[in-house]
Symmetry: C2
């Protein structure tokens, strides 16, 4: 969402010049009229690594090609902003349904990645695709099931998606899945 | 922070009747004048389980008695709202410093707990206390280092703190620490 540089106090309607303080400065935008402090907090992005294992025993990962900015036309894992009224895992399953029409069984938390510059925390869950009845949603141009040697590494939308895919493949090859943490400098 | 039932559009200053939609309804508050959609998203609470291991080899956990509402006078682990410009782990260390004056070494993610009703996700990290120079901050009445058989279970501030302490003690006894996930119905 776009955030204006000048906004109006949500409590009293008075104009406030600065809503988002510089990243280096922890001070908040305070309404000069009523003193209301407009906190800005990081948002959670929740998504999944949906996997289909065919009769050959080889896993294939569900990717979505983005129909919207940022990074329109690039490939991503299904993910989006967590909403109120749902758990992080429920949000991840909802996004998977919305962006790929996919029915999944969640298998556990896989990654918690800080994206400080864009003020987000990305939470990804491992998931098993229950069938192959996919239906791209309005935010998706097309879906694809890709083998581990078919990942479009140079056409991925975000750094966190690249990290999650790399970690998933590494964990799959050694036969044990951990929960991964860390920071991604940029999301694209 | 208190959130008013009637607020003013942050983009155009027009009055908007409802800011927080009912939990069951995912619709957002939309400004009737300019169409600005005021998203409401869950917030992250970040904290630590700070542990001191004395010469007897027995771990003791740092707790804080709350000087502020909600749950003033009850015991909690150091934790608070994650801010922009920091990773979740950095926020957890900051809260530990602010609420107990404690210097710690972070040891890894320990719990990711959904608190859906209060629209929060609680992230806790394992931590090692570097020294015993504690100094309660303005939100803390007093600090205490408690043995595993001294936890004030009936005087804990929040359900997530109870869950994290129980999981930490269980993991300590079996000699392996996992990343724990789940939901807490209420935080108090």
């Amino acid at each position: 969402m776009a955030v204006p540089e000048i906004h109006f106090c949500r409590r009293c309607g008075h104009a406030v010049e600065q809503r988002i303080p510089p990243l280096e400065d922890r001070s908040r935008a305070v309404c000069p009229h009523c003193g209301y402090v407009d906190y800005v907090n990081p948002l959670n992005v929740v998504g999944t690594v949906p996997v289909w294992t065919g009769e050959d025993g080889q896993p294939r990962i569900l990717l979505c090609r983005r129909a919207i900015e940022p990074r329109r036309g690039y490939w991503t894992l299904p993910a989006g902003f967590m909403e109120v009224g749902e758990t992080a895992a429920e949000g991840a399953a909802r996004e998977t349904r919305e962006e790929a029409g996919a029915r999944i069984e969640l298998e556990g938390l896989f990654a918690v990645l800080d994206a400080v510059r864009v003020r987000q925390v990305h939470l990804f869950y491992r998931a098993r695709l229950l069938d192959l009845d996919l239906a791209p949603g309005p935010e998706t141009i097309e879906n694809a099931l890709v083998g581990l040697d078919e990942i479009p590494w140079d056409r991925l939308a975000f750094h966190s998606v690249r990290r999650v895919l790399q970690d998933w493949i590494d964990d799959h090859r050694r036969g044990r899945f951990d929960v991964h943490t860390g920071s991604v400098e940029r999301t694209r």
